[in-house]
Symmetry: C2
C-alpha cells in the first residue's frame, strides 16, 4: 500500500510540475530554504516541493490534483507569520504552495475606491500603487516590505491603523478562493452592500489557509490623508491614556489614526540600544502615548490647533504632563522610530517572553495592573515591556529577563508565564492572540480558553470545507 501511495504521489507531483513548469516547481535545497524556515529560525519544516502557480487556474488545478492524491498543502505568502502559520511541520510530506508569482493588480476603480489584487502582491507595493492613484490603502505593519496581501487576508492582519480603518477583515469587499477540492469560489465583488445570503468571505479571512487558498481580493481604498499631526505625549498613567483617547476621538472628528502606549522602559531600551534615537521630551516620564491625528482635507482644517487645544485641556485636567508636537516629517519619523524599534531594542537586554493580547480598551489599565503584579510575583525583577496599540485594546505584553538573570532559566518558564498572563486576559474577556493568529504556536493553548461549543463549531466547519484535511494541516485547529 505504501508503495502504491508513493507511486500516486510521484505521479501527481509530475503532473503538477508539467502544469506549472520548471519556473513554478522548486526542489533545489537552497531555493526551498526560505520557504521551509520560519523567518526568526524558530521552526524548520520540510516539503516535497515548493509550487508557485502563475494564476488562479493553476492554483485550482494544483489543489485538485493534491486533493485527489491526498497530498497536503501549506499555502504561503511572504512567510512573515509570527505564530508559525506559514511554514510546514518537521514531518510534513506535502507541498508548499507559494502565491509569490501571482502579484498582479488586476484593476483599480478610483471612483469605487477599490482595487482588485492577487494574493502575491507585497503590501508595500499595494500602498504605493494606491498612492499613485490618489488613494490610500491603510493596512500598515512592520513586515509590509515583504508580507503579501494573501497572507494579510488569511491572518486578518492588524497593524498601526486599525483604530481608524479596522483590521484587514474590514478592508476587503470580495474574495476569490481556491477551495480544498480545487473548485474556485469567485466572490470578487466590489460592493458596499450585498445582502444575498451567508457572508462567505469572512469565513476565509483569518482562517490562516486552513479552509482554502485566497488567490485574489477586492480591497477598499480611502481618500488620501493630506495632513498628519504627530505628538509624543507624557501622561500620568494608563488611565489617563484611555481618557485622552476618548477626548482625541471626539476632538478630531474621529481622526485618530494611531494611539500607541509606551512605558518608560521602552524609551530606556531604545535610547540605550538603537542608534540615532532621542527622547523628544526634556525630562524623564513614566508613561507616554504616541498620538497621530490625520485629515484628508485639502485645505488647512485646523488639525494642529485641535491637537494643541486637546493637549492643553488635558494638561489642565492632569492627564497630560508634557508633550512634544512634531514640527515636520523628520521629527514625526523620529518619534515613530522610538515606537517601531522597541522589539529590536529588547534583544540586547536578554531573553524575552512575548504576548500579543487584547482586552476591552476601557480595561487596559486594569489588565496592566493585574498582569504586572502577577508576573512580578512569579519572577521577581522581571521587566515588563507592555506597549502597543492601546487604541485597539491590543498590548504587546513582552517580558524581559531580570537584569543579569539567566536567559535559559527564564525561557524555560515560557508556558508558565503565558498561562499567568493569558488567564488574566481571558478573565477580562480578552483575546490571547489579538493580531498574530493561532498558527502552530497557539493551537493547543486556545482550547484552554474557547468554549467547547466554539471549538466544536470551528472543527465542524473545517471538516465541512476541507474534509480530507489537506489545507495547512496542524494549524489553527
Amino acid at each position: 500500500m505504501k508503495a502504491l501511495a508513493e507511486t500516486v504521489i510521484d505521479d501527481t507531483l509530475q503532473r503538477i510540475r508539467a502544469l506549472v513548469g520548471d519556473k513554478g516547481y522548486i526542489t533545489a535545497a537552497d531555493a526551498m530554504e526560505p520557504h521551509l524556515v520560519e523567518w526568526r529560525g524558530l521552526w524548520r519544516g520540510q516539503a516535497r516541493a515548493v509550487v508557485k502557480p502563475a494564476d488562479t487556474a493553476e492554483v485550482a488545478e494544483v489543489v485538485k490534483l493534491c486533493a485527489e492524491a491526498g497530498i497536503p498543502i501549506v499555502p504561503q505568502g511572504g512567510n512573515t507569520s509570527l505564530v508559525g502559520g506559514s511554514v510546514p511541520y518537521e514531518d510534513f510530506d506535502g507541498i508548499i504552495l507559494s502565491l509569490a508569482r501571482m502579484n498582479r493588480v488586476r484593476a483599480i476603480d478610483r471612483m469605487n475606491y477599490t482595487m482588485t489584487v492577487e494574493a502575491g502582491c507585497v503590501l508595500a507595493d499595494l500602498q504605493r500603487i494606491a498612492e499613485e492613484n490618489d488613494r490610500f490603502f491603510p493596512l500598515s505593519l512592520a513586515a509590509e516590505g515583504s508580507c503579501m496581501i494573501g497572507g494579510n487576508l488569511s491572518t486578518n492582519a492588524g497593524g498601526v491603523n486599525v483604530l481608524r480603518y479596522g483590521n484587514t477583515r474590514e478592508l476587503v469587499l470580495g474574495l476569490e478562493v481556491a477551495l480544498p477540492d480545487g473548485t474556485v469560489w469567485e466572490g470578487l465583488r466590489g460592493l458596499r452592500k450585498d445582502n444575498t445570503g451567508y457572508d462567505l468571505k469572512h469565513l476565509f479571512v483569518g482562517a490562516e489557509g486552513t479552509l482554502g487558498i485566497v488567490t485574489a481580493a477586492v480591497l477598499k481604498l480611502f481618500p488620501k490623508p493630506t495632513r498628519r499631526e504627530t505628538a509624543m505625549v507624557a501622561i500620568s498613567g494608563p488611565d489617563a491614556a484611555i481618557e485622552l483617547l476618548a477626548r482625541a476621538r471626539a476632538a478630531s472628528a474621529d481622526g485618530v489614526t494611531s494611539f500607541e502606549l509606551m512605558p518608560r522602559i521602552c524609551f530606556d531600551f531604545v535610547l540605550a540600544h538603537i542608534a540615532d534615537t532621542v527622547d523628544p521630551l526634556p525630562q524623564r516620564y513614566d508613561w507616554h502615548v504616541l498620538l497621530e491625528l490625520s485629515s484628508t482635507s485639502p485645505e488647512d482644517d485646523g488639525l494642529a490647533e485641535k491637537l494643541q487645544n486637546l493637549l492643553e485641556k488635558a494638561a489642565e485636567d492632569g492627564l497630560v504632563l508634557d508633550a512634544a508636537i512634531a514640527q515636520n516629517q523628520a521629527q514625526a519619523n523620529a518619534m515613530w522610530k522610538l515606537r517601531e524599534t522597541v522589539s529590536e531594542a529588547q534583544k540586547p537586554e536578554g531573553a524575552s517572553i512575548k504576548h500579543d493580547v487584547s482586552v476591552p480598551v476601557s480595561r487596559v489599565p486594569e489588565f496592566l495592573r493585574r498582569a504586572d503584579e502577577a508576573v512580578a510575583k512569579a519572577v521577581p525583577g522581571i521587566r515588563v515591556v507592555g506597549f502597543g496599540h492601546v487604541g485597539d485594546g491590543n498590548i504587546h505584553y513582552n517580558l524581559s529577563v531580570p537584569k543579569g538573570g539567566d536567559n535559559q532559566a527564564f525561557l524555560a518558564r515560557w508556558e508558565e508565564i503565558n498561562e499567568i498572563v493569558h488567564d488574566i486576559v481571558h478573565d477580562m474577556g480578552g483575546s490571547i492572540s489579538a493580531e498574530h493568529g493561532l498558527g502552530r504556536l497557539k493551537r493547543e493553548e486556545i482550547t484552554r480558553y474557547k468554549s467547547q461549543t466554539e471549538m466544536e463549531l470551528m472543527r465542524k466547519i473545517k471538516g465541512l470545507i476541507d474534509p480530507k484535511g489537506i489545507m495547512n494541516p496542524g494549524k489553527v485547529l
Copy 2:
C-alpha cells in the same frame, strides 16, 4: 405515526408553555395577528403559537425542546422585513419565537465605545441610549421606531449612514447565539482585535435566522457628531454625482455621512402628494444629491466653509448647477423629508415594481442608463424612480406604472421586469438585494445569479449548523 407525532408536539408545546409562562406563550388569534402578517399585508402565515422567552436561557431551552420534537421555528424581531423573512409560510406548523421581551441593555462601556444589548431592543431606543451616554450608534433606517436590533443583525441592515459607518455587520464586535440544537454560543466579546480562529459571528450576521437565533450583541459606539451640514445640490447628472462624492470624501476628512441621489421625478411625486414639502431650489433641475457632512469636533472646524468651497469648485467645473445649504435644523429636516417620503409619494401614482440593487459606485451612471433604456423598451411610458444611497452604490430602482396605465396589467409583469433589471445588475457585478436580504421573496431568484459553488457552500453550511432544518425554514435557501 401521525397521531404519535402530534402527541409529541403537543407535549413539547406544553413544556414550552410551562417554561415561559402564560405571558410568554401566545395563542389568542388577535394577539398572534401582528406576528403572522407581513406588515404591508403581502403575506399571511400561520403558527401553533408565538413564544416570547424572557432571557437567553429560555430561548435556548425552547430551541432545544423544538429540536428534539422536530418543531420548526421562525425567529422574529420587529417584523419589518421587506422580503418576507420574518413571517411564517401559509402552511407552517411550528412556532414563532419572538425576541420582543428580551429588550435589556446589559452594559454600556463608554471608554470601550461599546454597548451590550439584547436582541429585542428597538433600534431607536438604542440610538437614544447611546446619545444619553454621549455616544453615537449610527445605524439608522426607516423602520427604526419598531425594528429590533436582533433583526437588524440577522439581516445585516443598511440604512442612511452606511457610507461613513458601514452596514450592521461592521457595527458588531460580539454575538450571543442560540444554535439550532439549543446550545448557546457565547461570543459576546467587546474586542477590536481578536485573531483566534474562524470568525463565527459573521456567519450569523445576515443569515436571516436560518442558522440560529441571535439573542444579544456587543455593538460599536462612536463619538457623537456635533456638527452637520446638509445641502440639496442640483447636479448635471449621475456622472457628476460620482465625481462630487469623491471630492466630498476628500474635502471633508471622509466625513460624508449621507449622499442620496434623487432624480426630478422624486421631487415631482413628493411635492404633489406629501403635505408641507417644498423644493429648496429656485428652479427645476433634473438631478439632485442630498449631501450631508458631519464632524464630531467640539470646536468649529470649518465644516460649513469646506462644504461651500466644495460646491463652488464643483460649480466652476460644471458638476454642480445650483445648491441650497440648510441654514438650520428645520431646513435640513425639510430636505430630508423630500428624500424620506419618496416611497410614500409613489403610492398615489399607481402600482410600482421595486428593486433594491447595488453595483460598484463608479458604475451607477452606467447602470441607470442601461436599466432605464431596457425597462422603457419593455414598458413604454414606464416611470423610473431610481433613487437612494448612491454613496454605497445602492439604488432603490422603483418603477411606477405609465401615467394612466393599468395597475394590474403592470404588476402582472413583476417577474419579467425584475429579470430585466437584475440581469443588468448581475452583468455589472452587482447585487439583487443590496440591503433587504433574500427572505422568502428572492430565495428562488438568487439561484439564477449565484454560482453553483456559492449556492453549494451556503447549503452545506446550513446543513451543518441546522441539520434538522428547523430554523426559519424556506428562507434564504
